[in-house]
Symmetry: C2
Subunit: 126 residues, 2 copies
DNA sequence: CGGTATCCGCTTCGATACTG
DNA sequence: CAGTATCGAAGCGGATACCG
C-alpha cells in the first residue's frame, strides 16, 4: 500500500492490489470464506450460517469462487443430492492476509464502532 | 477471520471485521488512502493521481473519510481557494492492515493475475 | 481551484416461484 | 437437497453543466 520502491499504480486493472480488493468488494465472498475456514461445508450450511443471503447470491458467489480456483465443489451422485464445498490450497493461502485484516479489526473495534455509529446516525438524518 | 476462540459472527453489522471490509468495499477509498500515504494532498492532486475518478465520487469519498475521522480537511481562506487533505492519526493506523493486504497481493501477483484473466475472458464470452 | 447539482444507465441484490 | 429463472427496486457511479 505504502508507495515504497517504484511499484506501479494501485488503480490499474493489472495491479494485484486492485485485484485482491475486488475479491473483498464482493459482498458475500468474505462471509463464505469465513464459513469455509473451519472445514468442508454443504450448500445448506451456508444458508444457515450466513444470515440474509439469498439462494441466488449464494450460488453466484460459490460459482465465482469455484471458477477462481479458490473453492472446490464436489457433487455426490446420490439422492437426495449432496454437494460439498471446501477451500483449495490457494483458497487457504488467501485466508492469511484477510485474517490479518480481521485481527486488526478486532483489536481496534472501539474506533471502528465509533465510525459505524456515526455513519448510521447520519444516514438516519438523511 | 479464522474462527478461533468464541468470537461473534463476521456477518452482523456490529462486527468490526464487517466494518473494516465495508471501508475497503468503497470503490474509491483505497485509491484515496493510497494517495494520502505519502503526505498532504490537494483536491486536484487526487484528480491527477487517480485515473477515472469523477469530481462527484472524489468529493463524496473525501467527505465520507472526513466524517469517519480518517482524513482531516483544511480550508485556507485565500483566492484562489486552497484545500488540503491529510490522514488523521487514526487514518495512519488504518494504513497498516491494508498495507499487509497489499504486500500479500504483490507477493502472489501471479495467482491473482490468473484469476483476473480468467474472469475477464469469461465476461467477454457472456 | 474546489467544489454542487442533476440526470440517468447499469449493476447489484432481494423476493418469489419453480425444478430434478 | 441444491439449485435455476425471472422480475423489479435500490443505489452506485459516470457525464455534464454550473458556481463562489
Amino acid at each position: 500500500m505504502v508507495p515504497n520502491g517504484d511499484r506501479p499504480i494501485l488503480l490499474s486493472k493489472d495491479c494485484p492490489v486492485r485485484q485482491i480488493l475486488d475479491l473483498v468488494r464482493d459482498k458475500w465472498i468474505p462471509p463464505v470464506l469465513y464459513t469455509l475456514c473451519s472445514g468442508t461445508r454443504r450448500y445448506n450450511d451456508f444458508q444457515r450460517q450466513i444470515p440474509g443471503v439469498s439462494k441466488k447470491m449464494l450460488t453466484q458467489t460459490l460459482r465465482q469462487l469455484e471458477s477462481d480456483g479458490i473453492v472446490e465443489r464436489t457433487v455426490y451422485p446420490v439422492v437426495p443430492p449432496k454437494v460439498e464445498y471446501k477451500l483449495t490450497p490457494f483458497g487457504e493461502k488467501l485466508i492469511e492476509p484477510i485474517s490479518v485484516l480481521a485481527d486488526w479489526a478486532w483489536q481496534h473495534q472501539e474506533e471502528l464502532k465509533l465510525i459505524h455509529e456515526r455513519r448510521t446516525s447520519l444516514s438516519i438524518v438523511t
